[in-house]
């Protein structure tokens, strides 16, 4: 855990130094994020000009969900997605050897190595939206709910990370898997809205095939005080299983890679 944090710090600094050379990219990202957020807010505005609740969710609760959505997608695009893309590229080019020979845990290294620093804008905007939403909730968020929110966010992050790692690891066998990650991004868009509104088949896919439910809806439920014990336990259990499972799968993949290139 400490290794993760320390290496993440190093690569964040590195990413910052790289990106400061291209400062225009900051404005590009700023415009993208603001447009994305504006579109989301306008969408909510149009929906709530015709109804008071959407699938049982009130406006402030959906605003909180939008904040969580931005926060999580910001985190994914800040570290997880770019690192995994770089890793898959390395496997394809055979340059992963340089990573494997480093005196750190290779899984940790490939997980935090590439940082798209300007995605911090999404995280910042998501946090602002979340704070505004919290101030508008009818019932204030107690310590229990705040704790549940923290736990479900961490669990959701772990689930998404493991999901990415498992998919990326399959690149040891199949060369072009980044397409699957793009498909995940299109499915992830569904997380702007509570998954409860989708028909059962789509809801199941968003819960068990791609981890959208646990990344967005469940943490927002925790804030709105509508989280069930079952969801909380499932989220934590799934996070544990997926972290262990992805670690094991990663080991299998790396052994295969070493065998192929040596």
């Amino acid at each position: 855990m400490m290794a993760y944090a320390r290496l993440l710090g190093v690569f964040l600094r590195l990413g910052m130094m790289n990106e400061l050379e291209y400062r225009v990219n900051f404005y590009v990202q700023m415009l993208r994020s603001v447009i994305g957020l504006g579109t989301g807010l306008a969408g909510l505005g149009v929906v709530f000009s015709h109804t008071d609740t959407l699938g049982g969710w009130r406006p402030a609760e959906l605003l909180a969900l939008l904040g969580v959505f931005f926060l999580v997608s910001g985190a994914i695009n800040l570290i997880i997605a770019p690192s995994m893309q770089r890793f898959m590229e390395d496997v394809r080019q055979g340059t992963l050897d340089f990573t494997l020979t480093k005196p750190e845990d290779a899984q940790v290294l490939v997980s935090v190595r590439q940082v798209q620093i300007w995605k911090l804008v999404d995280i910042a905007l998501g946090t602002i939206v979340l704070v505004i939403a919290l101030s508008r909730l009818e019932t204030s968020v107690g310590p229990g709910q705040a704790l549940a929110f923290g736990v479900t966010m961490l669990a959701g992050g772990a689930i998404v990370y493991s999901f990415y790692l498992i998919l990326a690891t399959t690149s040891f066998w199949f060369v072009r898997v980044e397409n699957i990650l793009v498909i995940f991004q299109s499915m992830y868009q569904a997380g702007r809205w509570p998954v409860g509104i989708y028909p059962w088949w789509l809801r199941s896919a968003l819960t068990f095939v791609v981890p959208v439910t646990f990344a967005t809806t469940v943490p927002a439920e925790a804030l709105a005080g509508r989280l069930t014990w079952q969801s909380l336990v499932t989220a934590v259990a799934l996070a544990g299983v997926m972290l262990v499972g992805s670690r094991w799968f990663w080991g299998v993949g790396v052994r295969r890679y070493a065998g192929a290139s040596a």
């Binding site: 415009l31 306008a42 149009v46 015709h50 609740t53 793009v182 868009q189």
Partner: protein, 270 residues
């Protein structure tokens, strides 16, 4: 006459090339399909949920009407969309425009042919995936015969209008290397004002007036509403007139800006 035959021959040749290129990228077809379907299904589900929580109807749409609206919009949006803005920027930046200019045929013909080929190919993937969507969401679509007949020219005009305005917008690449901001704005305007996100009649009144004054509505929403039977024959005629008007504006703009841009391009000295 021989010029037309020559143009036709050039199109057939371009079709073949574009087809060959597309077959190399089968995975991107699947990605595109997921994006297209997910986007429509998300809006479809959101609005049917709104209808349900308001006693089954919102602004003249019940759940099955919404299903029909968003599935038809998905098809119309697919048949009319263009990505030329992204390609053109690359083309100018990389100097790929120069060889195109040497050819005796205006580059727009190659672009149209490529677009149409892509549509044809993707329609093969899109059509079967409509079946489960129709079974799942039960759209209510009972168009009058005249509306079906009128839908086809409306769709064709919508495609030409959207393609030409997109192509003209892409020419901004002659003047700036940062066309992405323009593209993003255009994308958002399309999302809200062409009826992709929500039927225009459900938008607040000021935005509806804005949509009426701008060309976006005629690129997607008009053919959709026509097929859904939400347009009277008189309104349909007025719609065709509006499409023709905006199309001639686009053609004029495209020609003027293309000429100005070419001067600029050679001045930069490729």
């Amino acid at each position: 006459m021989s010029m037309l035959a020559g143009l036709l021959e050039a199109y057939v040749a371009r079709f073949k090339v574009a087809l060959g290129v597309q077959f190399q990228y089968r995975a991107s077809l699947i990605i595109w399909l997921t994006w297209t379907i997910m986007e429509s299904v998300i809006y479809l589900v959101v609005w049917t949920t709104v209808a349900r929580s308001s006693g089954g109807r919102v602004g003249g749409f019940d759940t099955q009407d919404f299903a029909a609206y968003f599935l038809v919009t998905m098809v119309v949006n697919h048949l009319t969309f263009t990505w030329i803005m992204h390609e053109f920027e690359y083309r100018i930046r990389q100097g790929q425009l120069s060889p195109l200019l040497l050819k005796p045929l205006h580059p727009i013909h190659g672009d149209i042919a490529e677009n149409v080929t892509y549509k044809g190919l993707t329609a093969i993937v899109l059509a079967p995936s409509l079946v489960p969507l129709v079974l799942a969401f039960r759209p209510a679509l009972h168009p009058e015969p005249w509306a079906v007949v009128a839908f086809l020219p409306a769709l064709l005009l919508a495609f030409l209008l959207r393609f030409l305005s997109g192509w003209t917008l892409a020419l901004a690449g002659f003047w700036t290397t940062r066309v992405f901001a323009i593209n993003e704005m255009y994308f958002v305007a399309m999302l809200f004002l062409s009826g992709q996100m929500v039927p225009l009649s459900l938008l607040p009144a000021p935005i509806q007036s804005l949509a009426a004054a701008l060309p976006f509505r005629w690129m997607v929403s008009f053919p959709v509403e026509l097929l859904l039977g939400r347009v009277s024959p008189e309104e349909a005629l007025a719609g065709f007139a509006a499409q023709a008007f905006w199309l001639s504006v686009s053609v004029a703009l495209a020609m003027v800006i293309w000429r100005a841009g070419l001067k600029r391009y050679s001045a930069v000295g490729a």
